[in-house]
Assembly symmetry: C2
Homo-oligomer: 425 residues x 2
């Protein structure tokens, strides 16, 4: 390895803001291909097209109760002192229609969810009736006026035919499953999960099975990134770690961009001597989108395009790597999967404890959310340096501290960004 004892002159990078950086990426996000899959496999996927109701729902007049379908007019004279007796001429379980007409003065036993006979207009609850059997016929007694439509869910109560029920770009979870199954949509068009190649650069990196050596650390970022990719909906492809070598990195990136939809690396983007990813994105056949973002941690976060595909080169510092993924890579993956709003939600919260650090860049401080009496609190992690790994696991948001802020007191309002996938929410 050639030694350079003085350091390079690579400090002259132009910083862009987080939102500028996000905007620079957008034109290069290619939506994944659309595939048709069985509904049962579609959990978590994103609909590739609008879905409209092929028929009204409910499709038929449905009984809300176990009871008796009746003509409401037959109850007009009912009162505590005046009973009406109706003859029960049929029974309609769920899944059946009436087998005989229900005339005036008659009723049909009906189950919850069953088809209300066309000629009847109300259902009286089972518990509100008494019954008797005379000459082999069954009668029920009513002592209250029942209004037309009582306990009958009308056709189209929930949805009319042709109504937009689910927009393209919507993620399919339990509620969407229910809707799609209700309308018999047994196959759906969804976006394919993007494949995301992950590798780390750094001569200091050991694989997990290797014994520790002085000066070396294990390649934990690739594992963290794999989880983040999964949470964003992508399919992580683990390509291990490579030593600090530009030619090797180049080869690896080229192979990965050819085979997979997106490449994410960690390490090799410092302003130091071993800025191999930084060098890589400065080469002729690569379009560098940005290599400095006015944020902490992760100011060296770099994005580039080669052969129409995105390459994200994140910091090797765990905290910076984590934040760089959440702000840039996660949204890109979600957009590739067709998600309508791929960015993390931004909310206002109350700062739970004083924050005293001063920054020249916008700082994204790891924090834990808490809800007390309807107020959302953000509690900053006690250690939050870019190189710190241990507080990532306890964070469910990032507090956005604007630059030049002279500390913020507990109780003041702050902007936060809700992180993806955690256990509290």
């Amino acid at each position: 390895m050639e030694k350079n004892l003085t350091g390079p002159s690579k400090f002259n990078r132009t910083a862009v803001s987080v939102s500028e950086a996000q905007a620079l990426i957008v034109p290069y996000i290619n939506k994944s291909l659309i595939e048709t899959i069985p509904l049962i496999e579609a959990h978590g996927r994103t609909l590739a097209e609008d879905v409209t109701s092929p028929h009204p729902y409910p499709f038929f007049r449905r009984s809300v109760m176990d009871g008796f379908a009746i003509h409401s007019d037959d109850t007009l004279s009912c009162s505590k002192d005046e009973s009406v007796w109706l003859e029960v001429v049929d029974e309609i379980p769920c899944g059946f229609t009436s087998s005989v007409p229900v005339g005036r003065g008659q009723a049909a036993r009906i189950m919850t969810g069953a088809h209300v006979p066309d000629e009847t207009d109300a259902v009286v609850m089972l518990e509100m009736t008494e019954n008797k059997i005379e000459d082999g016929r069954t009668y029920i007694r009513l002592q209250q006026v029942v209004t037309s439509g009582t306990n009958v869910t009308p056709i189209g109560f929930e949805l009319d035919e042709g109504e937009l029920i689910l927009q393209g770009g919507r993620q399919i979870l339990a509620g969407e499953m229910s809707v799609l199954a209700t309308f018999g949509i047994h196959h759906v068009n969804v976006y394919r999960r993007p494949t995301v190649a992950i590798f780390a650069t750094g001569t200091e990196l050991l694989e997990l099975e290797d014994p520790l050596q002085p000066g070396k650390i294990r390649n934990s970022n690739s594992y963290m990134l794999a989880s983040q990719v999964r949470e964003a909906g992508g399919e992580p492809i683990m390509l291990g770690s490579i030593m600090d070598d530009l030619a090797l990195a180049r080869l690896k990136v080229e192979e990965a961009l050819e085979k997979y939809d997106l490449v994410v690396t960690s390490g090799g983007v410092s302003v130091g001597d071993y800025d191999i990813m930084g060098d890589l994105v400065r080469q002729d056949d690569v379009t560098m989108l940005f290599n400095k973002v006015s944020m902490r941690p992760g100011s060296v976060t770099t994005a580039a395009v080669k052969g129409g595909k995105l390459l994200f080169a994140l910091s090797g510092n765990p905290g910076a790597c984590f934040v760089g993924f959440e702000l840039f890579v996660g949204p890109a993956i979600r957009k590739m999967m067709g998600v309508n709003n791929p960015y993390l939600p931004e909310w206002t919260a109350v700062l739970g404890t004083d924050y005293n650090r001063r920054n020249s860049f916008t700082r994204f401080v790891r924090a834990r959310l808490d809800i007390r009496e309807g107020m959302l609190y953000a509690l900053p992690a006690n250690i939050d340096e870019s190189g710190v790994m241990v507080t990532i696991k306890d964070s469910d948001c990032l507090i956005v501290i604007p630059p030049e802020t002279e500390g913020i007191k507990a109780g003041e309002q702050v902007k936060i960004i809700k992180l993806q996938g955690n256990r509290m929410w």
Copy 2:
């Protein structure tokens, strides 16, 4: 099918409260078997044991910056007017240790994250130095006093050796991945995902591929339940639907309980005539835990034990089925997977719009959460009947309305239960 024109006398069920019902289930929740799997496959799983740090982290004194490792004492006389020149005798990239001792009056070029030589005690930032080359030797100029420890992360800064880093029962997400990989824990002991058999009962049920018929509906609950099982961490097993027939249901339940860890059904628990699941749990070889819960929707939610395994018989009404799962089945699955607190979080929120319905039972009203100026708002769905399916997809919480409440005004505080898995959070 035998007809019964008057209705049964099955109304005399004893209602238990939601928390009583949850408590009745607990003794019968068997934790899943523990399996050892590669870390990379462990995303979303629950740790089956405590993890303590096998070594301090960082494991060596680490440079925070790209710069020069120095003896801080050499800078004691530094000021704007008084420079100190140090000879650069080594360069230490990440992953290496120093190759020569760094004496007083000397410095070593060092990279972010690299091993700080034992004899030095501070790192000065690259950007704060100037350099010159004389007689083939490189020197750096310092003009500020540097205190001992500057830019050096001490051994064990994040974690000491033997510290409890992750408790058993914790779910493995990105932050946990990072910690486990950092410590070289390449295989982890986690709980197996429970297999959850799902079937629906009801002669009215069509499969998704079937054309509509009057009085019939598609079996959408099984699909919704499959998504809910996945979100809770289980593996759904789809067993389709069966017609209302006690013997058939019995056979299906027995087979399923033999092969899978848990059985969930929808339908067949009304107080009507086709209460086949209700009848099933009253049989001699089944221990019925409860068959009525003082809640709406889902008051007929039923739980039983047979052969040491849990059977949940949920309402066939989509809304009631959904709520029954979230309150009882989801927590059981999470507990089987070893999750420490398997219940959904309960928060206080501000009611976003008036709620005017009066109930004799506690009502769990589907609602959407919103955060405005740090306050959490819950906006009740406009239609929320137990049979309604269409608002499930837009709900991320349930508002808990106590019984006998005479309506609640917008702006009042309400208790909510955050639902699992949705897109906003």
